[in-house]
Amino acid sequence: EVGQPAITFLPESPTLPPAETPTMPFVEKLLEEAPGKEQRKPYLQGLPLQYMLELYQRSADSDGHPRENRTIGATMVRLLMPSANVARPLRGSWHTRLLNFLLERNRVAYQLVRATMVYRHQLHLARFSLSCHVELWVPKSPNNHSSGRGSSQLSLMSQTWTEMDITQHIRQKLWNHKGRRVLRLRFMCQQQNNSEVLEFHQHDTLSMDIAFLLLHLNDTHKTAWKAELLPSGLEEFMGGESSLLSRKAR
């Protein structure tokens, strides 16, 4: 199925079995990152999942042991899909979409090693082909006229995907930002060699996985235990025995 961009919902995931031992950081972190029982989440398939599976296979063996020669340069890589993907009015042969990426607040301060936008620079729909690029959406202000391309370096990753480094932009504008951290981008496609203008509809391919954000991060906390609140999911599935769990039995 991989390669067919689609969003499906998982059936209700079963509750976790009570862990016999006090939580380990891994379980705590896993449950912090994993869905709670009541939460239904979109289950990603298609190209983003394929991209991450390939990254995983390059970085770890089939038992999960990190490879000595891995090149990710960080202990975590998070792939985020756009939280909003809005079509803009057609302008001549240009199709534009606004993409919003929500950077969740990390309870643990992760160090940002690298941030890249990965997007499809070539789209082929029926008898049309489009050449696409991404621009950082910078709110208009009288003094700055720069386009959103800024100093981001582009690197062709494959026939289909291009990687744009936006580490500087995120570090300067968003990473230590206190409020809601939303990265806004414009995904712009120009129709090639065809006089007839292609009409896109809301549900069309452009609203599927055309671009995603990759954050390469490092854990900054050295100690295995973090003095942070137990994630709600953990407390709930341990039947509220938080005294057992919160005891720092080390």
Binding site: L10, M24, P35, G64, P66
Partner: protein
């Protein structure tokens, strides 16, 4: 009174051989994330080999058990002074990391290297 411990060191009897067989050592063990009920959001790997340490800690803790002095003293105390003080326990000594690919609650996909996931050797302490 070290000589009261010495006989165990000098003449390995048949009993000694038996106890040697179940001495503290690393045992391989593999589990699937499905068995742990986590296969809904862990994409890779499919199985996990945490291994475990099991076995008795001998009176004389040989070098390969990486035991600290404290364990040697505790072993002597259990033998010579107060048997309610337990023998040292057989626990993991060194660990390996493990990389996991999982889907987060908000739908993003996370590759993460977790320290301390696979027991690599054991110790008595």
């Amino acid at each position: 009174q070290v000589d009261s411990v010495a006989p165990e060191v000098s003449t390995p009897s048949q009993e000694q051989d038996e106890s040697k067989n179940n001495q503290c050592s690393l045992h391989p063990y593999t589990v699937s994330f499905r068995q742990l009920g986590w296969d809904h959001w862990i994409i890779a790997p499919h199985h996990y080999t945490p291994n475990y340490c099991k076995g008795t800690c001998p009176r004389v803790l040989h070098y390969g058990l990486n035991s600290p002095n404290h364990a040697i003293i505790q072993s002597l105390i259990n033998k010579l002074v107060n048997q309610s003080i337990p023998q040292p326990s057989c626990v993991p000594y060194k660990y390996d990391a493990m990389s996991v690919l999982l889907i987060e609650a908000n739908g993003s996909i996370l590759y993460k290297e977790h320290e301390g996931m696979v027991a690599q050797s054991c110790t008595c302490r």
